[in-house]
């Protein structure tokens, strides 16, 4: 029984007096080292009071310059019931020559209960401030003492690049199609010129000799880029020397066409059409480069 009494008494001794106006008080500070000139130091003060006691905001430090090297940048007070959370944000402007111990000054928070005023001390907080740059003059002449900042990391632009590539390809495709519509690829169609001519000739008989001759004329004209006549063959060969090897056949064609179109009507025979097709096939071979 005695033991039980002792325990109860000692427990009673541990509990705080229920008359304390401030039931909870804490100052939360970050690490006390590793600061350099210009750093911001947050400080959070949490006060829980008994009901009926309120914080005097006028007792808090004022935003602005605290002393020669310390600024108070922000003061925020958040109240939830009887719990006050005071956030202070200090900024240090001190360039020490070596690691130096500095102190955030303490202050007193005033709480009031009716006419009565209660004080709660916020202790000073000591931290160390490091120099920003090395001050010992190097003996060695080599090496860059002051180094530039590392360049900022680049923003990811992969997506933009993909977008650009996609729109460029679409633009190029459209441009190519437009050029095709404007007839800029005549060279391409020129390589299949006689293929098309042969296809057209295939369905013709000697009765359609006029059409057959016209088709071949058109093909030669497009190949030459302008109308081709017998007396201009020399110029044509200069531009297309590969056709010189079928000179005799071309000359036959032009003479035949001249006789057919411009002299008294002559009767076309199947052999003529055959010869015409052979000429086209020779041209097709030259066009394909196999001759």
């Amino acid at each position: 029984m005695r033991i039980l009494l002792i325990m109860v008494l000692s427990l009673l001794g541990c509990s705080g007096s229920i008359d304390e106006p401030v039931s909870y008080f804490n100052v939360e500070t970050p690490r006390p080292f590793g600061y350099v000139n210009g750093d911001e130091i947050p400080q959070r003060i949490i006060i829980e009071t008994r009901s009926g006691i309120s914080l005097q905001p006028g007792s808090l430090p004022v935003k602005g310059q605290i002393n020669r090297w310390l600024n108070l940048n922000r003061v925020t007070v958040k109240q939830t019931g009887q719990r006050y959370q005071i956030d202070l944000l200090y900024q240090v402007f001190y360039a020490p020559l070596e690691v130096k111990s500095l102190t955030l000054p303490g202050f007193t928070v005033q709480l009031s209960q009716g006419e009565k005023s209660i004080s709660q001390n916020v202790p000073a907080w000591t931290f160390t401030l490091s120099p920003l740059r090395e001050l010992v003059v190097r003996q060695s002449e080599q090496g860059e003492y002051m180094r530039p900042d590392s360049p900022p990391p680049l923003l990811a632009n992969t997506q933009a690049l993909y977008g650009l590539a996609a729109s460029l390809s679409v633009a190029v495709l459209i441009a190519v199609y437009l050029a095709y519509l404007y007839g800029c690829f005549s060279g391409m169609s020129r390589r299949t010129l006689f293929k098309r001519t042969l296809r057209k000739l295939a369905g013709l008989s000697e009765a359609d000799m006029e059409q057959a001759l016209t088709v071949v004329h058109h093909a030669l004209n497009s190949l030459n880029g302008q109308p081709l006549f017998l007396n201009r063959l020399g110029e044509f060969y200069r531009r297309n020397p590969q056709y010189l090897q079928i000179n005799s056949q071309l000359a036959w064609f032009f003479n035949y066409s001249n006789r057919y179109f411009f002299s008294d009507a002559m009767i076309a025979v199947a052999q003529d059409l055959q010869q015409l097709k052979e000429l086209c096939e020779q041209c097709r071979k030259i066009e394909r480069g196999s001759r």
């Binding site: 001759l213 016209t214 004329h217 004209n221 302008q226 109308p227 006549f229 017998l230 007396n231 066409s257 001249n258 179109f261 411009f262 002299s263 008294d264």
Partner: protein
């Protein structure tokens, strides 16, 4: 003698005549060929070229070779139409006399009329000449004189522009061909012209051309020839395209540098010009031993028959010398046959 043989004989004579002229006036083969074409197609010829390149010698040689009565007049600024028709003088008895001028002197046998330096004569003279050329007749002394055989050769030099009168479009149109005479290009020919004494005395040179005496039969020949040489429907279509292209070259894809094509031409070829073109083309086909006209015949005579018939917009007239040949070439390059 049937027509074919007759035409063959005539062709031989024509080619012989051409060879003879080419020996007399060297280095001008294309011009000589064109003159032969004009003579056998019965068209008038205007020669244009620099001074001293042989225009007059060429025409004199042609006139001499053709035979027939020949008259010549020099264009001057004070030449009046009446000077071509008559001249007045006092005879030995002191009585005033009126004699026929160069045009009337030979009456209807006048063959070659050579108008030297035509652009120095006034427009009044050109007007008289217009009628003589187109209708082969003039009115003088209250009656009409006919010259069924007249062939006008005219020349003008393109160096001087002072005291000259540009030939009106109507006068130009009456010439079948305007032929440019340039200096011979070959070194041997230039050497010959410089050092061979044969070319120093033009009178003797021209006198050396044998008179072929063919002249007064030319009209008949030309008529036979024009009827005999055939043109096919395809050729008609080609000639029509050429004609249209002289009016609206842009529709045939002709494009010249620095030129707004629709504004280039004021006037294209006239119907008379096209009929001259076909006549000349037929004559060429005949000389090439064919009885039908080919596109190449039209192409060969197209520049000489057409260049002086196309009239450029005044905006482009100052580039005439450059644009007209390009235009003609462009038309020939773009119009296809068939």
């Amino acid at each position: 003698m049937n027509t074919d043989t007759q035409l063959t004989d005539w062709r031989e004579q024509a080619l012989q005549f051409e060879r003879q002229i080419n020996q007399t006036v060297i280095g001008l083969q294309p011009a000589v060929r064109n003159i032969i074409l004009a003579v056998f197609a019965r068209g008038h010829v205007l020669l244009e070229g620099n001074v001293g390149v042989g225009k007059t010698t060429l025409l004199r040689a042609v006139a001499q070779g053709l035979g027939g009565d020949y008259q010549r007049i020099e264009g001057t600024i004070d030449l009046m139409p009446a000077d071509l028709i008559y001249y007045t003088y006092l005879n030995e008895q002191g009585r005033p006399c009126v004699d026929p001028g160069p045009l009337l002197k030979h009456g209807d046998t006048l063959a070659t009329f050579f108008f030297n330096e035509i652009n120095r004569a006034r427009p009044q003279v050109h007007a008289l000449l217009l009628r003589a050329m187109a209708e082969r007749s003039i009115n003088a002394f209250n009656r009409d004189y006919h010259f069924p055989h007249i062939q006008v050769f005219a020349d003008r030099n393109r160096v001087e522009k002072e005291e000259t009168f540009e030939l009106p479009a109507a006068a130009k149109d009456r010439f079948m061909m305007e032929i440019n005479i340039d200096m011979p290009r070959g070194d041997t020919e230039l050497d010959e012209l410089m050092f061979n004494p044969r070319f120093h005395d033009t009178d003797r040179l021209v006198a050396g051309v044998a008179n072929s005496g063919i002249y007064y039969r030319l009209n008949e020949l030309a008529q036979t020839l024009q009827q005999h040489i055939q043109t096919s429907p395809k050729l008609h279509a080609y000639a029509l395209s050429l004609w249209k292209a002289t009016h609206q070259p842009q529709q045939y894809g002709v494009q010249l540098s620095d030129v707004e094509m629709p504004q280039l031409l004021m006037a294209g070829a006239s119907p008379r010009g096209m009929s001259y073109l076909i006549r000349a083309a037929k004559t060429r086909a005949w000389l090439e031993q064919r009885d039908h006209v080919l596109p190449e015949d039209l192409q060969a005579v197209f520049p000489v028959c057409m260049t002086h018939r196309l009239f450029l917009n005044p905006m482009y007239a100052y580039r005439k010398e450059q644009l007209l040949p390009e235009l003609i070439e462009g038309i020939l390059d773009q119009v296809a046959a068939p």
